[in-house]
């Protein structure tokens, strides 16, 4: 009866597109990782683990790209969560008026194209004429001026900063939604019992915000591991390879026609994220009767 009212073929459209264009390439990629597939020859030969040996060899830069990806991911997770949490608490009940306007403004960068944000910050972070260094010079803090995107030691940090500027509003909004699920009575009761504001935050807000914080961390994790646009525009992976991540390297392999190594690198990320996603999604979708 249920199958008749809720026919399974309703899922076909979504399922087929998803299978064909997301899942299939992922698994095909694993198979092609063991070949010398490239754009110069029509023949594809089995080469065993060669591509993976290349990726994990210390003579190549791929391990660095993976390291950079993880560095970017961990730092954006920390920064966005901390600032997002601060803003969420501030704009949930810390401010009485204009709350909605503040939220609308702080969320704004989220809807802007990353590519555009990158272009604008490229000019702001220009060492000679950019607004940031100009600002430091005009207030006499010349010592703070940096070659933001050119200095190998801070280029990645600058990228992380820009990415946080763009993404923190999203995190704030999710955490606000999380804060609103916490019953007000808890705070009232705690206040009567004489809990300090920090005590209330530590013992009520934080523990009850764990589900929202989990969601936020997962979103930032999935975003960070496949970051591409912001790095491509801001630094193009440079200076040298200092800000290259997995997906800028993948694009590079793609442009050079080195499909075998590229698809192996993609597959490493695919397997890691899918397995990781498997446990996360299973946790987030409670088994119902």
């Amino acid at each position: 009866m249920k199958n008749k009212i809720y026919p399974f073929y309703f899922t076909f459209g979504a399922l087929i597109l998803y299978l064909l264009f997301v899942v299939l390439p992922g698994f095909m990629g694993i198979a092609y990782s063991f070949t010398d597939w490239n754009s110069y020859s029509t023949k594809v030969n089995f080469v065993g683990l060669d591509n993976f040996r290349t990726i994990f060899s210390s003579e190549e830069n791929y391990l660095d790209y993976i390291r950079h990806t993880l560095f970017f991911t961990v730092n954006t997770i920390i920064l966005k969560t901390l600032i997002g949490l601060f803003l969420a608490v501030l704009l949930n009940h810390g401010v009485r008026r204009l709350t909605h306007l503040y939220r609308v403004i702080i969320y704004l960068p989220v809807v802007l194209p990353t590519i555009v944000v990158g272009l604008v910050f490229k000019s702001i972070l220009n060492p000679r004429t950019g607004l940031l260094n100009e600002f430091f010079r005009s207030v006499g803090l010349d010592s703070l001026t940096r070659k933001w995107l050119v200095d190998p030691d801070i280029a990645m940090l600058s990228v992380i900063g820009v990415d946080t500027w763009k993404g923190v509003g999203y995190i704030m909004v999710i955490l606000i939604a999380g804060l609103q699920t916490i019953p007000k009575e808890y705070y009232e009761a705690a206040e009567i019992d004489g809990a300090s504001p920090f005590g209330r935050f530590r013992h009520i807000t934080l523990p009850l915000l764990v589900p929202a914080l989990t969601v936020v961390t997962i979103l930032n994790l999935f975003y960070g591991l496949r970051v591409f646009d912001i790095i491509y525009v801001l630094t193009g992976g440079g200076p040298g390879y200092r800000t290259d991540v997995v997906f800028t390297a993948v694009f590079d392999e793609f442009s050079k026609g080195r499909y075998g190594v590229g698809t192996a690198l993609s597959s490493v990320l695919f397997i890691f994220m899918t397995v990781f996603g498997f446990f996360i999604v299973r946790k987030l979708t409670p088994a119902e009767a």
């Binding site: 309703f10 899922t11 998803y18 597939w37 604008v120 695919f270 996360i280 409670p286």
Partner: protein, 274 residues
């Protein structure tokens, strides 16, 4: 007394304004510089324009071939959003209403797609096999497919909130599965569907990656790729680049301002309650 009571409010407002200021500065820079001449905009300074050069916009539309890429972006974002949201809603509805073991597995499997990164190499192969490479239809189908997991996830939770009695009443009245879904359920899913739709639209409008890989032909480029290419050609003329940027973000800004209540509230109710 009054003052000490309001002190935290003043401090908190200052903090909120400071963060808003950080957001607004870059936006302000783009707006003022889009109205300057090339010489004055060279350093992208915050100074106000000496004279308003509104001509920049028409120059950009002409030289950046913006009309073409605007039409492309509109086509991709609108059609992929509509198709993927409807397909996702249909799937989410059936999977949520009929929770058999198998259907729960299918749901799980689709949602897992949120985590899966695309493999651009083998996807190229699939696109070639289906003759979709470098075509507008191809990019629309790709966007539709990639948006499905998140949309199913967002809508699935909402289906439960619609009372089953409605289904039963509609069936007693002789509705088939299609009429039941499209004329009874779908309208009630509006908040979830709009949320998913807005997220999809903005996500597709702002995407840079798929066209970078799969559209070689510049007449098929969306605005993001066009603006990036424009920057490559006119990197000395920040006034033009700024004007181009403003025109590129205008549509998403309009959608954002119209839909901000949905976005800022509905966005996560599906995600957080789980």
């Amino acid at each position: 007394m009054m003052l000490t009571k309001n002190l935290p409010q003043v401090r908190n407002n200052m903090l909120a304004m400071f963060f808003c200021f950080l957001v607004i500065v870059p936006v302000y820079l783009v707006i003022v510089n889009s109205l300057k001449d090339s010489a004055q905009a060279r350093t992208m300074s915050p100074a106000l324009p000496e004279k308003l050069h509104t001509k920049n916009f028409s120059t950009v539309i002409e030289r950046g071939k913006l009309t073409q890429s605007f039409v492309n972006s509109m086509l991709y974002a609108t059609s992929a959003t509509i198709i993927s949201t409807i397909l996702a809603a249909m799937a989410a509805y059936v999977l949520s209403r009929n929770k058999t073991r198998f259907n729960r597995f299918v749901y799980f499997f689709i949602v897992l797609g949120i985590a899966m990164p695309l493999n651009f190499f083998t996807l190229t192969k699939v696109m070639q096999m289906t003759h979709l490479i470098n075509t507008q239809l191809g990019i629309i189908i790709l966007y539709t497919a990639t948006q499905i997991p998140l949309s199913v996830f967002l809508i699935y939770g909402f289906v439960d909130a619609i009372p089953r009695e409605l289904d039963e009443a509609a069936i007693v009245d002789g509705c088939g599965p299609f009429r039941l879904f499209f004329s009874v359920i779908f309208p009630l899913l509006t908040p979830a569907v709009v949320t998913a739709g807005v997220l999809n639209f903005v996500g597709i409008w702002n995407d840079f990656l798929l066209p970078l890989y799969y559209l070689n032909d510049s007449t098929k480029w969306p605005m993001t790729l066009a603006v990036y290419n424009f920057f490559g050609q006119f990197r000395q003329d920040w006034n033009l680049v700024s004007a181009d940027i403003l025109l590129t973000v205008a549509p998403v800004l309009v959608i954002y301002l119209l839909g901000q209540r949905f976005i800022l509230s509905g966005l996560t109710s599906g995600a957080v309650k789980g």
